[in-house]
């Protein structure tokens, strides 16, 4: 009997979590964000139920401001992998033209992401939702449970979380309450990259460096992805070879200058640069503890 490598241990743990959650849930859903962690999440789910199909659908919250390449990737990925996808947008927000420029990142995120997610979860009456969050991403997530309880307002209360011992998870909820389940809790960024590499998991091309039109805003390179991008007076897009460490809404996601076109090159850069992953997300910089605040309100 050989000892399982750490990455295969993480894989086994994630598969265990998927199966356990499905055995407890009435109506599960997988929150799909198109990013690299979501790609890994889907692969692990497929492994957990192989040779069967996924016993749940994917839900994507489309804030309407995602990179075009993300949406194209999503549709291709879901059709190739034969995944059932539900796309939800906050239609009221869309009709009112809510955008990150006029409303600010905080309010925009609340309306187009948090509120949209809550609407979709309520409409679907899901009692369990898988997500791709990892504990090493951000300080407030280090204490997140694998099975994270949400009250009937879908809110997270750090003081009212269930103790989680061994690998015994408790997904029992009363009507309207739910749990969010994070099978990637114990994965680090390096684990994710290596897994994508050895499993040949498809990811959005935006992760790799390419010449892209960008403008500089508050020390970050913001990509001009479509004609809706508001340019300040005197601001002119320039072409730079950049890539993205995380993907979100294009006006809120900073690119980094990079020549990395392979996973190996990305990891090599990561080791040298050592700037933590979420620092290119504008929404995390709304103030100290801002991620924790968003989580309390129901943001993933």
């Amino acid at each position: 009997m050989s000892t399982l490598s750490q990455l295969r241990q993480l894989e086994a743990e994630s598969i265990h979590i998927f199966r356990d959650a499905v055995s407890q849930a009435q109506n599960p859903i997988l929150l799909y964000s198109i990013g690299k962690d979501s790609s890994v999440l889907v692969r692990l789910a497929q492994k957990a139920f192989y040779p069967g199909r996924l016993p749940f659908k994917l839900l994507h919250i489309d804030s309407t401001w995602k990179f075009r390449e993300m949406i194209a990737f999503r549709d291709r990925f879901c059709s190739e992998q034969e995944l059932e996808l539900i796309v939800h947008s906050n239609e009221q927000g869309r009709a009112e033209g809510v955008n990150p420029f006029d409303y600010g990142s905080r309010k925009y995120t609340d309306i187009m992401k948090t509120q949209a997610l809550l609407q979709a979860l309520k409409a679907g009456k899901y009692d369990l939702a898988f997500g791709g969050a990892r504990r090493d991403e951000e300080k407030s997530r280090a204490k997140e449970r694998v099975f994270s309880f949400r009250d009937k307002h879908q809110q997270w209360d750090p003081k009212n979380q269930r103790p989680e011992l061994w690998t015994i998870y408790n997904a029992r909820v009363n009507p309207e309450e739910s749990v969010r389940v994070f099978p990637l809790s114990n994965w680090t960024e390096t684990d994710i990259w290596q897994y994508i590499r050895i499993e040949r998991i498809p990811i959005v091309p935006l992760y790799f460096a390419a010449p892209r039109p960008v403008v500089e805003r508050d020390g970050q390179w913001i990509m001009v992805d479509d004609e809706r991008m508001r340019l300040h007076s005197g601001e002119r897009p320039i072409e730079k070879t950049v890539r993205f460490r995380t993907l979100g809404c294009y006006p809120l996601t900073g690119a980094i200058e990079s020549a990395a076109t392979t996973i190996e090159e990305i990891v090599a850069e990561t080791l040298q640069v050592r700037v933590s992953e979420r620092s290119t997300r504008v929404i995390d910089h709304d103030g100290d503890s801002s991620m924790e605040q968003k989580k309390r309100e129901g943001y993933f």
Partner: protein, 620 residues
């Protein structure tokens, strides 16, 4: 192959050590973790710069120095209080191993958090402040670590810099901890003198400061501790999580190998059905396996069509776990609602929920002295030994032999909160045959009723369904009085009046009972008791069935009525006394006049039934 290829492949193939750090705020625990993360180059630059800002605001270290503790406290409230109040997980790796740290607080009220962190840990670091030596808290941490089955203990004697790197201090602390640790079941205990603040013996050995210490540095110990003996490779246990059936030709049982090893061709047994079969294939999406062991997640296909559902357990045919519905366990209580004997919970064990009742709280354990104490209840963070009874047998091994099948959690059936965690011990010391700790007949009866209600199996028609159909609820009415004849007649008239109101009523005479349902009762001395017991059980059933059940017991005394009351639980009894009773202090619900017309007396009882919402008002 490029350097990055090598790096990534090495990273993938490292093995994993999960450990917990125990110590109080002042022991320098956060500083130690901060240093491990920092020195393994995982504190990213922007985290460092925001840390520098925060240190100026809240830091407790001197100006210019980085407060490592602030790096770790995740949540806002904690940051303001300066105390870590929950379990946080950190990740770092060295070329040798990947590490997951469960960072748990040292405060007394947080036994719960430490137990949580320890439950998944292979090793515990116990921090001792060299200035104070082994203190109460040290003993508490070591005790909880041993309780949770941690096999490797690393005692880090910290703040050696303040103690002048004194060998004598270190040796004294080592001796005093070793004396105490003999009482614990931890096979591997090591000691290392460190200064987390200065980095002495943390990552690298510091012979210039501790020339007398010949051992490895703390990180070297973490990198080399041998975990290969910790897994149970003997007993194959496979709780089935999901049945995978993509088409008619495939039926696979998916789960995680909890312990032991399985190979195709192995003869297996399924619990609880006790059916046997043979493993045909070990299926994974990356191809079939020739062998699977813990903690691999696989899917088993069997050679026979065996009916297996989620929550069943597959084991080797010749190596079975204990199959019991009554067992002892050591529990750590985690709820604000104290644990009391008689309480009902759900248990989650080996992938399924089972109804359970805490039959007895044998004793509590003082976490500081490890002494047994007699307790009536276990509060939040209390530790104690209990006897648990379940509605279906659990398939378990003692926790000391198998962490996966010997552990369980208690779940509150109303709020669904996780209320406690327990480790199953080997045997039940209280046997079924020995008398229970109940002093009197009333206690025995209470115990019986509690047990009966625990096992009471309800159908799919609820009491509310019956109410909507019948327009009334079930009720047991007992009629007593001086005149046997009048009591009988009254009972029968009540039955008829209710029946005419289209309500479901039934009258049972006592002789019908004693010659029928209770005709096998022979023992003279307890004959009446036994008959009353039958009557009580019958009334419980008929009330549950939604009937208004009437019986006449002219000479019933207080004892009899109390017994019937107890047996009729959870429903309440209605006791009608026909006239005043002489010399009998019976608890009656209503007394009607002996010389009033039978019709008016029945009216009075119907009025009371309507008042109690047993029957609707409009009927009378």
């Amino acid at each position: 192959m490029s350097a990055i290829d090598t790096y990534l492949n090495e990273h993938e193939n490292k093995n994993l050590l999960r450990f917990i750090t125990c110590g109080s705020v002042d022991d320098g625990k956060s500083t130690l973790i901060g240093r491990l993360l920092f020195d393994s180059k995982l504190i990213y630059e922007d985290q460092l710069s925001s840390l520098q800002d925060a240190s100026d605001k809240n830091g407790t270290t001197g100006a210019g120095e980085i407060d490592y503790a602030l790096l770790l406290d995740g949540l806002k409230a904690e940051r303001e209080q300066g105390i870590t109040i929950d379990v946080a997980y950190r990740y770092f790796s060295t070329p040798q191993r990947k590490f997951i740290i469960a960072d748990t607080p040292g405060h007394e009220q947080y036994t719960r958090n430490m137990a949580t962190g320890a439950s998944t840990a292979n090793l515990a670091i116990i921090l001792i402040d060299a200035r104070y030596g082994v203190v109460t808290q040290t003993r508490r941490h070591a005790f909880i670590a041993s309780l949770l089955g941690i096999k490797h203990l690393l005692v880090a004697v910290n703040k050696m810099d303040i103690s002048g790197y004194s060998e004598e201090t270190f040796l004294m602390i080592r001796q005093s901890f070793s004396d105490f640790a003999q009482k614990l079941d931890i096979p591997d205990v090591r000691f290392v003198p460190i200064s987390a603040l200065k980095g002495t013996n943390v990552v690298r050995r510091s012979p210039e400061l501790t020339p007398w210490y010949a051992g490895q540095s703390l990180l070297e110990l973490l990198e080399t501790v041998d975990l290969s003996q910790d897994l149970n490779t003997r007993d194959f246990r496979f709780p089935v999580q999901v049945v995978i059936r993509p088409n008619l030709n495939f039926r696979g049982f998916a789960g995680t190998v909890a312990s032991g090893v399985i190979k195709p061709g192995d003869k297996i047994r399924v619990l609880p059905s006790n059916r046997t079969s043979v493993v045909k294939r070990i299926v994974t999406s990356d191809g079939d396996l020739q062998e699977a062991s813990a903690p691999q997640a696989v899917t088993l296909e069997l050679t026979d069509e065996v009916d297996i559902s989620s929550g069943d357990m597959i084991v080797h045919d010749i190596n079975l776990p204990r199959v019991k519905d009554r067992f002892e366990a050591v529990v750590i209580w985690m709820s604000e609602t104290p644990l009391r004997a008689g309480a009902h919970y759900l248990i989650r064990h080996a992938g399924r929920f089972v109804k359970a009742r805490v039959e007895a709280l044998l004793y509590g354990v003082d976490v500081n002295t490890m002494e047994q104490v007699s307790v009536q209840e276990l509060p939040l963070n209390g530790i104690g030994r209990i006897v648990v009874e379940t509605t279906q047998p659990l398939f378990f091994d003692p926790y000391s032999e198998n962490r996966a099948t010997g552990s369980l959690i208690f779940v509150d059936p109303i709020s669904n909160a996780t209320s406690g965690a327990a480790m199953i011990t080997d045997t039940v010391f209280i046997d079924h045959d020995t008398p229970r700790a109940v002093s009197d007949a009333a206690g025995l009866l209470r115990d019986h009723v509690e047990r009966r209600e625990f096992y009471w199996e309800t159908g799919l028609v609820s009491a509310k369904d019956r109410l909507l159909r019948n327009r009334h609820i079930g009720k047991t009415v007992i009629i007593i009085g001086e005149s046997a004849q009048a009591v009988q007649a009254f009972g029968k008239e009540l039955e008829r009046r209710l029946f005419r109101l289209n309500l479901n009523s039934y009258f049972l005479g006592f002789s019908s009972l004693s010659r029928g349902l209770a005709s096998d009762v022979r023992d003279n001395r307890s004959e009446h008791d036994a008959e009353i017991q039958r009557l009580g059980e019958l009334s419980r059933i008929l009330t549950d069935a939604g009937l208004i059940f009437i019986t006449a017991l002219p000479s019933a005394d207080a004892y009899t009525v109390e017994r019937l009351k107890a047996l009729n639980q959870p429903n309440e009894l209605l006791v009608v006394s026909l006239g005043e009773l002489s010399g009998r202090a019976v608890p009656v619900t209503i007394t009607v006049g002996e010389h009033v017309s039978i019709e008016k007396n029945v009216d009075a009882v119907l009025g009371l039934l309507a008042e109690q919402h047993v029957i609707p008002d409009y009927c009378i």
